[in-house]
Amino acid sequence: MFQGMTFEPGSLPEGTEALRQEVRAFLASELDPDVLPNSDFNAGVSAEFSRKLAEHGWIGMTWPKKYGGGERSFLERYVVTEELIAAGAPVGTHWIADRQSGPLLLKFGSEEQRQLFLPKIVSGELFFSIGMSEPDSGSDLASIRTTATKTDGGWLLNGSKIWTSFAHTNHYMVTLVRTQPPSENRHAGMSQIVVDLKDENVEITGIKNLSGESDFNQVFFDDLFVPDNMLLGEEGNGWEQVMSELGYERSGPERFLSAFRVLVEFTREIEENGTDEQLALLGRLSAHLVTLRRMSISVATMLESGKLPLSEAALIKDVGTTFEQLVPEVVRQAANPNASKRFIDTLNECILHAPSFTLRGGTREILKGVIARGLGLR
């Protein structure tokens, strides 16, 4: 398409269709019909649901068998994840461990760490959080101030992380810290350390989001001791490791399906007597969705072949989250005046979550910067 920015055509292999049907059958029997589904991956949590997924081998699907993984392809994982999100299943509990902490451990972790964590992630018993943002460091992640100071047999952590999704229920947090003071090279001197969130010296306080849920937190460390074997990867290599997480974090179906249930309920509203205007809007939004899905499958195909398409992933997240925010706004304007309660509840829940779509995982401005770099402008 453009030098430095390629979307290799990808398609889902034949065999994935059977898997898709398997997931659909599972969801049909598992999802509680009394709970309004929400396709925002961060909106629903259920450790029990995650454990059931694990029983089917749908966590850690691509990981090596020796750690309990399924050694299946990224495209098979893609199919499972998009089915879960589209159905509005409560995936928040295991999502981060499956999407990025596990792959991070596989890439940079010690053998001991892999043995310790991966099998339990796969069995749906261990859940992870992301410990990047701090009160004074959001987009400018390199400015973090949480420190880890070397001490006998381990590290002493001081500082605080914020916006940490599900730190209050998850077990561990991959935490980005400074192990060296800031220097001329802003990206040097950072490291990742796995913090045990159940350690009684970690203080966690909940923060309420717009819809009143307390799903993110502030996490405090005051001379928290973490043993040596919990340093993830090399000391000083933290920045590179954090960046490698982002390819996985930004290109998946959860970056364009967050508002999908609104589209489903809108379709229900216009099933019988939809006007041309309403039908054309459904058509317009569907055209966006089908195209975004092809882009995401293209990146999943590139990940499968061992590439790390960072600017393409940023582009999908930017286009995808813009779409997610467009959906509730245009659908509410096209809705019938006597819309059903179910439609209105789904819409309002989405509207309350929508501001987060373009914040979490990197704001639109930051993503556009990454895309601009891909275009050779930086």
């Binding site: 453009f2 398609s11 039908l279 317009r284 055209a287 195209t291 882009m295 393409e312 993503l367 895309i371």
Partner: protein, 345 residues
């Protein structure tokens, strides 16, 4: 992209760089037929890359032809490649061969009686004045017919698109030879419309890519406040938005290329609707980034953007195709919406 397609892309890109300069495009807009360019495209077999050899084509895949349209649109090639390709395919289905001179397609209101008297007219016939023949669909007494007729045998009133390309009105009242009238299925007009929308979508994707390239390049060359404007974050972000729209268009067009043989209605509708929407965003941003220079006929940005404004309206603007998608998708019901989407490979 397979080896054959890479070869087509490279050959075409070399050839168009030489033969389809901005000056050539301007000349065509000033009424000069790009005969040299056409002859070369025809002789190299590129004009009919995906049409069977028995029908005068090069015998490649349909995708090859769509790739040619995609690449030619990056250069605003002022020749009726899309129409000639569609005519070539329709004639090939009848065991007939398209001529060396370009053939165009007329979409209008035509009737043909049992004595083969063809009458009717069509507006916006692309490049008609420069073509040898026209292929069109006409209502016969016992079903639809596909007809071919020499341009010289029609009454032609010249017209121009917003891109300055010939979009002529033709009217016909003449008896045809039996050899130029074929039985066509009742869906022939619909199939022509789908082929037209498919080719326009692919062309839009090509022109959009080129628009992005021009905008990136211009932003790096133009300097204000002591630095190249590409260093301003606002400009970078506008280019990033364009890149997103262009990527979506390219993938939507790729989908059309892959399924062209089956003329999958929904794939084509999605392609036309999505690329059409991208045109509004990208032409706006590209012109903003190019400043007053882009608002002139001197800079060749106008070759791309004016064609994009023309093509998005041809063979159905966004709304028409969005409605088709909406009708298809709603039919499956709300609870199957997701399955309907995943069925669109």
């Amino acid at each position: 992209m397979n080896e054959q397609q890479q070869l087509i892309k490279d050959t075409l890109s070399r050839l168009l760089t030489d033969l389809c300069t901005p000056q050539e495009v301007d000349a065509a807009e000033n009424g000069e037929w790009a005969g040299n360019l056409w002859q070369t495209l025809n002789e190299t077999g590129l004009a009919l890359a995906g049409v069977p050899e028995t029908a005068g084509g090069s015998g490649g895949d349909l995708e090859d032809s769509l790739l040619v349209l995609h690449e030619a649109a990056r250069f605003s090639a002022p020749v009726p490649l899309a129409e000639h390709f569609i005519a070539g395919l329709l004639l090939a289905e009848q065991g007939a061969v398209v001529g060396d001179a370009p053939t165009t397609i007329a979409v209008g209101d035509f009737e043909i009686d049992d004595a083969l008297n063809l009458s009717g007219s069509a507006e916006n016939v692309a490049f008609a004045r420069w073509c040898g023949e026209i292929v069109l669909a006409a209502r016969g007494t016992a079903g639809m017919k596909l007809c071919r007729i020499a341009v010289a045998e029609t009454d032609l009133t010249p017209g121009l698109s917003v891109a300055g390309e010939p979009r002529d009105t033709i009217s016909v009242s003449r008896q045809l030879d039996a050899a130029n009238v074929f039985d066509a299925g009742d869906d022939i007009e619909h199939r022509i419309r789908l082929m037209g929308a498919a080719t326009r979508s692919v062309m839009m994707a090509g022109a959009l890519e080129s628009t992005l390239e021009m905008s990136v390049q211009y932003s790096q060359e133009r300097s204000q406040f002591g630095r190249s404007i590409s260093k301003f974050q606002a400009i970078q972000h506008q280019l990033a938005v364009m890149a997103g729209e262009v990527a979506a268009s390219t993938l939507a067009a790729d989908c059309i290329k892959e399924s062209f043989a089956s003329l999958n209605e929904v794939d084509i509708a999605i392609g036309k609707a999505r690329t059409g929407e991208a045109v509004s965003v990208c032409t706006d941003l590209a012109h903003g980034i190019h400043g007053a220079m882009g608002y002139t006929l001197e800079h060749s940005l106008n070759h791309r953007t004016r064609r994009l404004w023309c093509w998005r309206d041809e063979y159905g603007a966004e709304k028409e195709w969005q409605l088709l998608i909406g009708q298809k998708f709603v039919a499956g019901g709300a609870d199957n919406l997701w399955a309907t989407i995943t069925d669109q490979s």
